[in-house]
C-alpha cells in the first residue's frame, strides 16, 4: 500500500514565550488535522518526538484521550525523519490506514549542552571542552574545504541564500535578508564558521497526516505521495560528532547510504528531483550534503553556488524556506518542517518562494548526531 500525506500543520518556528513545547506541538497537530479535514478521533496511530519539550505522547492530554497507539521517537536531529519513517512503515505494512506524525521542541538559547554519559563517553570529554557540536561542524567543513577546494565565498553564499529565502517565508524565524558584508564580518564561532553560518536552537511544532494512498483524495484534493522513507546510521569510519578518535580510512557518511537506498527504492535519480531540503545545521553541512546526497560531485558546489543553481530560480532549489539557518532548529520538529516545505512546493502553495515550472518530485534529507540520516522522496 502506498503512502500519502494529506495534512500539513505548523506552529511557526522561532520563539513563542506564551506557549509550552507541547502546546506548540498540539497547535501544529490541530493545523494538520484541519488541513486534511479530519478529526483527531480518526487517528489510528501517532509517532512523535521532542528533545527538550516533553513527552510527545502527552499531547493526548491536549488533543484527546482516544486510546490510539502513540509511540515516542527520540533520534536526535533525525527525530522527525525517524517518526515519518515509522509512520510510513505502519501504513505500508497494511496495519493502519491513517495516522499523525508530530514533532515539537522548546530549547534554551545558545548551543546545546550534551552530557557525555548519554553518548557513551566519560566525563573528561565534556569537562575538557570537546563536547560541542559546533566544533565538529567547523572541523568537518575545514577538512572538506582543504580536500575539495571550497572557498569561504561559497560559505557566505549559502548563508545569503538562506536568509533571502527566509525573508520570503511567512513562518520563518529569521525573515530579514542579510548582506554579504553582514555575513562576512559576523563574529567567529568555530573556525571557519561564524555566527550567521550556524542555525540556532529554537522552538516550534510541525505535524503531518499520513494515510493509505487509495483514500488520499477523499481527504485532500492535492495529496503528496511519500515514495520512500529511509533512515540509516553510521558505518565504521564515517566522520561523526562526539568521536574521541576516528579510524584511518574515512567511510561514506550515513547520508550517502540513506540517499543511495532512497533513490534505489523510489526508482528515481538525483536528476529527477525538482526541489530539495538538505540539512543545513550550518552552511558547511548544506554544501557537503549536496554531494553526499548525489546531486553533484565533491568540489562542484563551488561552481553550483556561484551560478545560483540552488536558488529558488536555479536548476535544483535547495532549502526554499531558508532551511534550518532561517527557521532555527527545534530538534523534534525540524525534520518534519523539511517535509512540510516540500509538500507546500509540490502543492504549488509556496507563494513568494514557490519554485516555478510545476515541480513534481521533491527530496528531504535530515542528519543528526551521532550519525543518523533520514531521506524522504516525495511526489505529486
Amino acid at each position: 500500500m502506498d503512502v500519502a500525506i494529506v495534512g500539513l500543520g505548523m506552529h511557526p518556528f522561532g520563539r513563542t514565550p506564551s506557549m509550552t513545547g507541547l502546546e506548540q506541538g498540539a497547535a501544529a497537530a490541530r493545523a494538520a488535522l484541519a488541513d486534511a479535514g479530519v478529526d483527531f478521533k480518526k487517528m489510528e496511530f501517532a509517532y512523535g518526538g521532542s528533545q527538550d519539550g516533553g513527552n510527545a505522547d502527552s499531547l493526548v492530554n491536549l488533543l484527546g484521550l482516544t486510546g490510539l497507539q502513540f509511540t515516542n521517537v527520540a533520534n536526535g536531529c533525525a527525530t522527525g525523519g525517524s517518526s515519518l519513517h515509522a509512520a510510513y512503515s505502519a501504513i505500508k505494512s497494511g496495519q493502519y490506514d491513517i495516522g499523525l506524525v508530530v514533532g515539537f521542541d522548546k530549547h534554551d538559547r545558545g548551543a546545546f549542552n550534551a552530557k557525555p554519559a548519554d553518548w557513551g563517553l566519560d566525563d573528561w570529554y565534556g569537562e575538557t571542552g570537546l563536547m560541542l557540536t559546533t566544533q565538529y561542524f567547523g572541523m568537518k567543513i575545514q577538512r572538506y574545504m582543504h580536500d575539495h577546494g571550497i572557498s569561504r565565498e561559497t560559505l557566505i553564499r549559502v548563508a545569503e541564500k538562506a536568509f533571502r529565502n527566509g525573508s520570503l517565508t511567512p513562518t520563518a524565524w529569521r525573515k530579514t535578508a542579510l548582506s554579504w558584508e553582514e555575513i562576512e564580518n559576523a563574529p567567529m564561532v568555530s573556525e571557519p564558521l561564524n555566527k550567521f553560518m550556524f542555525c540556532s536552537p529554537a522552538e516550534g511544532g510541525c505535524a503531518l497526516i499520513v494515510c493509505r494512498a487509495d483514500m488520499a483524495h477523499q481527504l485532500h484534493p492535492r495529496p503528496i505521495y511519500l515514495k520512500t522513507a529511509v533512515v540509516r546510521s553510521r558505518n565504521y569510519g564515517s566522520f561523526e560528532v562526539f568521536s574521541p578518535s576516528q579510524p584511518p580510512e574515512v567511510a561514506n557518511s550515513p547520508t550517502v547510504t540513506a540517499s543511495q537506498a532512497a533513490f534505489e527504492l523510489a526508482g528515481v535519480g538525483p536528476e529527477d528531483i525538482d526541489v530539495a531540503q538538505l540539512q543545513d545545521t550550518e552552511v558547511g553541512a548544506e554544501i557537503m550534503h549536496m554531494a553526499e546526497n548525489g546531486f553533484c560531485e565533491h568540489g562542484d558546489q563551488e561552481k553550483w553556488l556561484a551560478e545560483g543553481a540552488t536558488e529558488i530560480t536555479g536548476r535544483l532549489p535547495v532549502n526554499t524556506d531558508g532551511g534550518c539557518l532561517a527557521n532555527g532548529e527545534p530538534v523534534g520538529a525540524s525534520g518534519l518542517r523539511q517535509v512540510h516545505e516540500i509538500c507546500v512546493q509540490l502543492r504549488g502553495e509556496g507563494g513568494a518562494r514557490q519554485v516555478a515550472g510545476d515541480p513534481q518530485v521533491g527530496y528531504t534529507h535530515v542528519y543528526g548526531a551521532p550519525g543518523i540520516s533520514g531521506v524522504n522522496i516525495l511526489a505529486r
Binding site: 545558545g110 548551543a111 549542552n113 552530557k115 557525555p116 566519560d122 566525563d123 573528561w124 565534556g126 569537562e127 575538557t128 571542552g129 570537546l130 563536547m131 560541542l132 566544533q135 567547523g138 572541523m139 568537518k140 575545514q142 577538512r143 582543504h146 563574529p187 567567529m188 564561532v189 568555530s190 573556525e191 571557519p192 565504521y236 568521536s243 574521541p244 578518535s245 576516528q246 579510524p247 584511518p248 580510512e249
Partner: protein, 144 residues
C-alpha cells in the same frame, strides 16, 4: 603541595616523560581505538589489548573554540579569564585520528598537515587543591 594527577585514568601515561597516549588495538582485525575500548568498533570482536599510541602526529583538521562552553565544561576559568582554545584531530603513526585540545588558538597558527606533539596540561584543581591533568597537542617545532 599535593601531587598532580590525571583527570581521567587510562588516557595517557603518567608520570612519564615524555608522556604517551594509551589506546587499544583489536587482536582480531588490527584496528585501533582511543580511548581504550573493550570491544572493537570495526569487527565487533572483544579481543582487545591496550597499546602505546605514541605522542606525535599531524594535524588532520582543526577549529577554534571561541566562546566559553556551558556545562559539562569544567575548568577554573570564568567568562572573564576564558581563553579560546584550538580543537583538532591528530593523525597518529598508526593512522588513528585522535581528537584533542590544541595549544594554538589562532587561525594563522594552524594548518592541516603540520607536525604536532603531545603535552600534558592542567584542567583545574580538585577540592583538595590537587591539579587535575589532561592531554593536548601543540605545534611540534615550538620550544617550551
Amino acid at each position: 603541595m599535593l601531587e598532580a594527577k590525571p583527570l581521567h585514568e587510562g588516557l595517557f601515561t603518567w608520570p612519564d616523560a615524555p608522556p604517551s597516549l594509551i589506546g587499544s588495538r583489536c587482536l582480531d582485525c588490527g584496528e585501533h581505538a582511543f580511548p581504550s575500548q573493550s570491544s572493537c568498533r570495526a569487527c565487533s570482536g572483544q579481543n582487545m589489548a591496550d597499546v602505546d599510541l605514541g605522542n606525535e602526529g599531524r594535524l588532520w583538521t582543526w577549529t577554534i573554540q571561541s566562546f566559553m562552553p556551558k556545562t559539562p565544561y569544567h575548568t577554573d576559568e570564568t567568562p572573564e579569564t576564558f581563553r579560546p582554545y584550538g580543537v583538532g584531530y591528530i593523525e597518529l603513526a598508526c593512522g588513528l585520528k585522535v581528537e584533542s585540545r590544541l595549544r594554538e588558538n589562532k587561525a594563522d597558527q594552524l594548518e592541516i598537515g603540520m607536525p604536532m606533539r603531545l603535552e600534558i596540561i592542567t584542567v583545574r584543581k580538585d577540592d583538595e587543591g590537587a591539579e587535575l591533568l589532561t592531554f593536548q597537542f601543540c605545534a611540534a617545532e615550538e620550544q617550551d
